[in-house]
């Protein structure tokens, strides 16, 4: 397994290094002997993923919690009480309140009420 180690700090430079690193790294299967270098399409896909990851984006709908915990910046969904003070937190709170409120209204308004309701398994 080949890899490059460079103590770069600027994200852009870091990305360039990553691209070089990915371009020169062979595919390695854990549990198997090192194989030949990956196909270009595999490396390209891996570079895309690596770049997005380095820039704080994730291929998934939600970012890796372990990775996000190391992120800094206003866009990271912060933990604890500080989240609700952020812009995303305020929007979330409004949506939650609206969604919950309408669901509670629907629970009462849309209820098909049977004339008989059981108590402890018996009807009265």
């Amino acid at each position: 397994m080949k890899h490059l180690v460079r103590p770069w700090r600027r994200p852009v430079a870091r990305v360039l290094v990553l691209a070089v690193a990915l371009g020169s790294a062979p595919v390695c299967l854990a549990g198997q002997p090192p194989g030949p270098p990956s196909s270009p399409s595999t490396i390209t896909a891996s570079i895309d993923k690596a770049v997005h990851h380095e820039l704080g984006q994730s291929a998934k709908a939600s970012a890796s919690p372990a990775t996000v915990a190391r992120q800094s910046g206003a866009n990271a969904p912060s933990s604890g009480g500080s989240f609700f003070k952020s812009k995303a937190g305020i929007i979330t709170t409004v949506l939650l309140a609206a969604g919950t409120g309408f669901a509670l209204y629907s629970t009462s308004h849309d209820r098909v009420k049977s004339p008989q309701v059981p108590y402890g398994g018996t009807w009265k």
Partner: protein
């Protein structure tokens, strides 16, 4: 040595070999070995596992190995530290439900710390489990067009798996034979085993569909198991906000003019008028690394023009979920969750089923609460304990909209009046599970698991016909519109309990390239009648051995052969002993006289059936062999041969009855003359002691002389070959392709709860006349394709689900019944005119499509999509009128129609477009 943080991304596709034992457990495991660059193991290495809810630390043993058990499925990273060596971290490690992930680390002397972001192939072979299973992640659930239309139940997801159609899994009973687990809570109806609790697919973290080759910790099913875990909070706030919508303007119409001519009642059949569904969801920390919360609120609202004479049916379901997780210590986790929802339905079919008019519908009021408390204790790297206490309480009331009594016309098949009865059901289920997992090394390695379960579930069902005036509750039997008979009584108020204790022990014993999976499950089941205050069902101890073997052909973990034999038993269910519980009223037969007068001519006293003293519980034998090959890092192929044979059928019988054969000329040409049977020695009145609920393996119907009429050995067998090719996301696309050939035969059908508490064996006309053949849910060919492609740079994804499945079977019956007087029986009957499954519906070929555009802003993903269900508006007939030569069916806004035999009554749902949007972070 100064640590200089450096982030190194490698184009390393680390094949993380998932060595999994299929498990009812809700957790996963990470194991691995730490070595130096020369391959020498490194003991004493500090290994730190970090996930969404904090960190755990271990020190590698003399072999350089570490093991983290009891992990909530999700994403993790592992860091190894040893003085004089550069620390190493691997990220993006995905732990799946019941899976064991192997992460081996190599440390370099001195130098800088290294971080590896693993680009996981995640297409991995399970090297130690003989089970064949499908895992559906939340990513798949949220990207595929799987939620079109009326999707609101877990059983709908089951049908996307290979080998499962119409909720019949590998030949099992449709809807009744499958175990449905939500965070370990069995959510089935304890009366017969159908789905009871419905839940929002957005709360699902991961879903596992298992059943073929399942180990001993799985029990209580005769089809398949859906094992679902729900989302939890973590150190980072995560949210989901989703809405989807469709209405009639986005619906197609697939009823052809030819189909409408054959059956005018089809009309605008099964059209969605409006569907709105939204979910708001959020989770996060209460206290970092110590306590977490998660909540979800959904409102699902659905209105349709159903198939048949009904014009409207609605469903509104507000649903609330909440969960709190507490790390008492890094090795002790306590979790509590609750779901409350209210299921409100109007326009549901009453007694006449799909022939119901609006007047014959019922309204449904159905609230439920599901609760769950779980505790996990990791004693050390080899020992792990799980304990759960959970259950649900619910009721389900069906009230008719029209309280007029029901009229059933035996000449025309028409229904008039109201739904005919109300039905009230109260259910509760309480369960406690304890399981101890132990890893040991002796003559290889062992993954032991020992478990104990207790279940107490209650069934309270009450029903009464609508009032017919002076005789009280009843329904009418008409002939050509003239009320001729009135059947009164048979109202019931039935109360029972299911009681079960289960024990299991299993081991995955690995020695070199061979793993032996040895296990046994013991189920002690009873049925208790509250009406009679006694145990009425006490089967023999159900002993379910499980024997499997897995062999790694090449030693590289990319090619395995599996073999398995096991015995499964169905869960505790009232259906096995319902007629022995009591709580039924007398059934009284009246002649209807002019002037609305009634004359009683017969009476069946309320019957409490006898129960065989020690029957064998219903179950099946499962044998399967499979071969699995890792084709590429992101692709694997599996071929599985499956043999299943049901056993220990339980039905009610009349052991002292004698039967006189007589010829019956089939009305359907060329139709052979059938032999039917008249009850030759029917007593003046029957009592409960005349009936016996028993295993029917050796039961025989006898003629008047006491000689056997015919061989009646009950059977139901499934033979299948399953081919599955799976590709995980790489090069912007992912997919699963499956083809299943199968053949299910029997003389016990699988269209419902047959062979497990049915009454078909009380009368030979129902039990042996043309009853052997291809069962209703026999699907010879099944092709399912799920494909997803993401257009790079524009983040536009196209996902499709293509399905081509052979039709199930149907069997003709006569329009005119054979009268009760001719049969000397309690009611008229309709015998099968040809062998079971003589005819088959056409092949169902549909394609669903989703086009989704996403926008990303840091961790935020906002997307909009459009779904096309049944993209090509296929108009496949999935139900026909089976009475020969015809049947009268009500038509809305017009005269009733005489619908010929074999005319369509149900057509697949037409094309439906749905739009949706989602914000997640």
């Amino acid at each position: 040595m100064k640590k200089i943080p450096a982030t190194i991304l490698l184009a390393v596709i680390a094949l993380l070999v998932a060595v999994g034992a299929s498990a009812q457990t809700q957790t996963g495991t990470i194991v691995g070995r730490v070595a130096d660059e020369q391959g020498g193991v490194l003991p004493g290495v500090t290994v730190t596992l970090t996930g969404g809810r904090g960190s755990l630390t271990q020190v590698t043993d003399a072999k350089g190995e570490y093991r983290f058990q009891g992990l909530t499925p999700g994403e993790y990273e592992v860091t190894a530290n040893l003085s004089s060596f550069a620390p190493r971290t691997e990220r993006n490690l995905e732990v799946g439900l019941g899976k064991v992930l192997t992460v081996n680390l190599s440390l370099k002397l001195g130098g800088l710390s290294e971080t590896v972001n693993v680009v996981t192939s995640s297409s991995t072979i399970d090297l130690t489990s003989p089970a064949t299973e499908t895992t559906i992640s939340h990513d798949l659930l949220s990207s595929m067009p799987l939620n079109i239309g009326t999707f609101n139940t877990a059983t709908a997801l089951l049908n996307y798996s290979p080998g499962i159609n119409n909720s019949s899994a590998f030949g099992g009973d449709a809807s009744y034979g499958n175990a449905l687990l939500m965070d370990g809570v069995d959510t089935r109806d304890p009366e017969a085993g159908s789905a009871w609790v419905f839940y929002n697919y957005n709360i699902v973290e991961e879903m596992q569909v298992a059943g073929v080759g399942a180990p001993a910790e799985y029990g209580g099913f005769s089809g398949a198991v859906i094992n679902t875990i729900t989302k939890s909070g973590s150190n980072v706030s995560h949210g989901l906000f989703e809405g989807r919508f469709t209405n009639s303007s986005l619906a197609g119409n697939n009823i052809t003019s030819e189909q409408l001519t054959l059956n005018p009642a089809l009309g605008q059949a099964n059209q969605i008028k409006r569907l709105t569904d939204y979910t708001v969801q959020l989770g996060g920390p209460i206290k970092k690394d110590k306590a977490f919360w998660w909540a979800s609120i959904q409102r699902y609202s659905f209105e349709q023009d159903p198939v048949g004479p009904r014009t409207k049916s609605t469903e509104v379901s507000p649903r609330y979920n909440g969960k709190v997780t507490v790390n008492l210590t890094p090795n002790d986790v306590l979790m509590g969750s609750i779901q409350y929802d209210n299921y409100n339905v109007t326009g549901r079919t009453g007694y006449p089923g799909t022939y119901s008019t609006d007047n014959q519908t019922v309204q449904e009021d159905s609230p439920e609460t599901v609760w769950n408390v779980q505790y996990r204790k990791v004693f050390n790297s080899t020992t792990f304990l799980e304990a759960k206490v959970n259950g649900y309480g619910a009721y389900y009331n069906l009230d008719p909209v029209d309280h007029s009594p029901l009229h059933v016309d035996n000449d025309t098949g028409e229904y008039r009046g109201g739904a005919g009865s109300y039905y009230y059901a109260y259910r509760s289920r309480y369960q406690a599970n304890v399981a101890l997992s132990k890893y040991a090394e002796a003559f290889g390695t062992h993954n032991f698991k020992f478990g104990f379960e207790i279940e107490r579930s209650s069934v309270h069902s009450q029903s009464e016909y609508s009032s017919c005036g002076s005789i009280g509750p009843c329904y009418f039997i008409d002939y050509s519109g003239v009320p001729t008979y009135a059947y009164s009584g048979l109202n019931y108020n039935v109360r029972s309990q299911n009681r079960r204790e289960s024990y299991y022990a299993q081991d995955a014993w690995k020695k070199g390239r061979l793993t032996l999976n040895l296990g046994v499950r013991l189920d002690h089941i009873r049925g208790y009648s509250e009406n009679l205050n006694k145990t009425v069902y006490s089967p023999q101890l159900a002993i379910g051995p499980r024997l499997g073997a897995v062999f790694d052909l090449t030693g590289k973990g990319n090619s395995v052969v599996r073999g398995f034999w096991g015995r499964y038993y169905e869960g505790a269910s009232q259906s096995a002993f319902a007629n022995a519980v009591g709580g039924y009223e007398d059934f009284v037969y009246y002649n209807v006289l002019p002037g609305n007068q009634f004359e009683e001519y017969d009476r069946a006293t309320s019957l409490i059936y006898r129960m065989q003293s020690d029957p064998k519980h219903f179950g099946l034998n499962d044998t399967n062999v499979s071969f699995e090959q890792q084709v590429r890092r992101d692709m694997r192929f599996t071929v599985t041969g499956i043999w299943r044979d049901n056993m220990n059928f339980i039905e009610s019988t009349l052991p002292d009855a004698r039967w006189s054969p007589f010829p019956y000329v089939s009305p359907k040409p060329p139709g052979p003359t059938l032999t039917l049977y008249k009850w030759a020695n029917r007593p003046a009145s029957t009592t409960g002691s005349d009936y016996l609920i028993q295993n029917i393996d050796n039961f025989q119907f006898l003629d008047a002389s006491g000689n056997p009429i015919a061989a009646t050995a009950p059977y139901r067998s499934y033979r299948g070959a399953m081919f599955v090719l799976t590709k995980t996301m790489s090069h912007n696309w992912q997919g699963q392709f499956s083809y299943v050939w199968s053949h299910t035969t029997g003389n016990i059908n699988n269209g419902g709860r047959s062979g497990f508490g049915g009454t078909g064996y009380e009368n030979p006309v129902n039990a042996i006349v043309n009853t052997s053949g291809d069962v209703s849910n026999d699907f010879t060919h099944e092709l399912k394709v799920m494909l997803g492609y993401t257009v790079p740079k524009v983040d536009l994804s196209i996902n499709t689900y293509i399905r081509a499945v052979s039709g199930g079977t149907y069997t003709p019956v006569p329009s005119s019944t054979v009268s009760s007087r001719t049969l000397n029986w309690f009611s008229s009957l309709r015998p099968y005119l040809e062998p079971l499954g003589s005819y088959r519906y056409p092949m169902l070929e549909t394609m669903d499509l989703r086009i989704e555009k996403a926008f990303r802003y840091g961790p935020h993903r906002i997307s909009a999509w459009i779904d096309f269900g049944n993209l090509f508006n296929a108009s496949t007939v999935t139900g026909v009128q089976t009475r020969y030569p015809n049947r009268t069916i009500a038509v809305v806004g017009g005269p009733s129609a005489v619908v010929l035999y074999d005319s369509p009554t149900i057509v697949t749902t037409p094309r439906q477009i749905m739009i949706g949007g989602r914000w997640t972070f």
